[in-house]
Chain length 236, copies 2
């Protein structure tokens, strides 16, 4: 690699608002970005189309969509025929209230694959859009999880063992959803390309009532920015 070649980063891109912003942050910091998306059996496959749009719009070196079915594991409304809760009061980081949309070990699995790819690419930086302010209360979105995972990853890889560095970046970690949107807009993110809803209608329109829609909608309101989301007409 030439001395002035851009640094490489692996970026987890789901197609949602947070990961699009995270990708824009990594790009703005001068990284050559390798986007990683998972087709894991999520019910809302419209996510994958959004991930492709986002990766293309923001300019990545390579975009991998990895097939790893997690639906057989069960236990989540995102991968199993369990109703997605609607209009649930969101209280922030209540550790005793992990919602049914939590997918067991999802971030750990995705991060592990990211580590493998980073190692093979010679990338020392991994970006992900976890956030523990306006979030759904998933344990694997908390900073203490990421810190512990990073420690394990350094011990478990060639890069870490041989003294190379391996850094995990969660640039949205301490931001409110409104702050994230402001940041993304300042970096040129077109949020109309993104998809957040856990339970879109057959046309891919957002339900407006799941946790993810509520957080997104509130974020645009608080940011004072027009919400580009296309919502499904509300039923009775």
């Amino acid at each position: 690699m030439e001395a002035d070649a851009p640094k490489k980063a692996v970026v987890l891109v789901s197609g949602g608002l947070d990961s699009a912003t995270t990708l824009a942050v990594a790009r703005s910091r001068g990284y050559d970005c390798y986007a990683l998306t998972f087709s894991y059996g999520q019910r809302h496959a419209v996510e994958l189309a959004a991930a492709r749009r986002v990766a293309e719009a923001l300019g990545v070196r390579e975009h991998r969509v990895v097939s790893l079915d997690l639906s057989w594991i069960g236990g989540s409304a995102l991968t199993a025929p369990i109703p997605v809760p609607k209009n649930r009061p969101l209280g922030g980081a209540d550790e005793d209230d992990i919602p049914i949309t939590y997918v067991p070990a999802r971030n750990m699995i995705f991060l592990s694959v990211a580590v493998g790819w980073a190692e093979a690419l010679g990338a020392h930086d991994i970006y992900l859009g976890i956030n523990a302010v306006d979030y759904s209360g998933y344990p694997d979105c908390r900073p203490e999880f990421l810190e512990a995972f990073a420690h394990a990853a350094r011990l478990g890889t060639r890069a870490g063992v041989l003294g190379g560095d391996l850094r995990f970046h969660a640039p949205l970690s301490g931001l409110s959803k409104a702050d994230i949107i402001h940041l993304g807009v300042s970096l040129g993110v077109d949020y109309s390309l993104t998809h957040s809803c856990y339970d879109p209608d057959p046309e891919g329109r957002a339900c407006g009532a799941c946790d993810s829609c509520q957080l997104r909608r509130k974020g645009f309101e608080q940011a004072g920015i027009a919400d580009p989301t296309v919502y499904a007409p509300r039923g009775g």
Copy 2:
């Protein structure tokens, strides 16, 4: 669950000697075992057939073979067209000498999926056959990696956050290959069902010269137990 129902354990089963022994240990401790095997693009798919034989012979409640192609990541002689080293001197735990058969982040990825399944099953125990005595020098086989990973897993899962326990067992960790074989024989493991070679011939016969064959062969010799492995005829 009834009070006296057996405890559940998820066991990583590759089809090799170590994981077969580990499964036998978990069974001997009274666990209902859920075997987890990965079809990850390994060149020696004969491993998968061995995993099925082992799981069936030792008696598991369920056996999942998960497709997760890691060959696109590259960088390993087990998944890419890179020659498998033969007759390499094996010096034990030399951290500066991670062989080309190392698959980036493999154990981290496999363990993460195991954590997800354990969580959904309500299992609190995960068994894996890593070993840091007679081993190939993979960083993700070392006890310090497993300890750090376990800590991250407890922080990143519903089970861990809500106070449930999540335990990782590596019962072979401190054993020599000969000790592992003695243990397995005492527990009734039929090692003729297992497969260790990184580079079998088209008939699935072991090469006898890769790191894994060398460790296995030496193990049977030192244990004073007849080696049931079918080796390919040695070429010139």
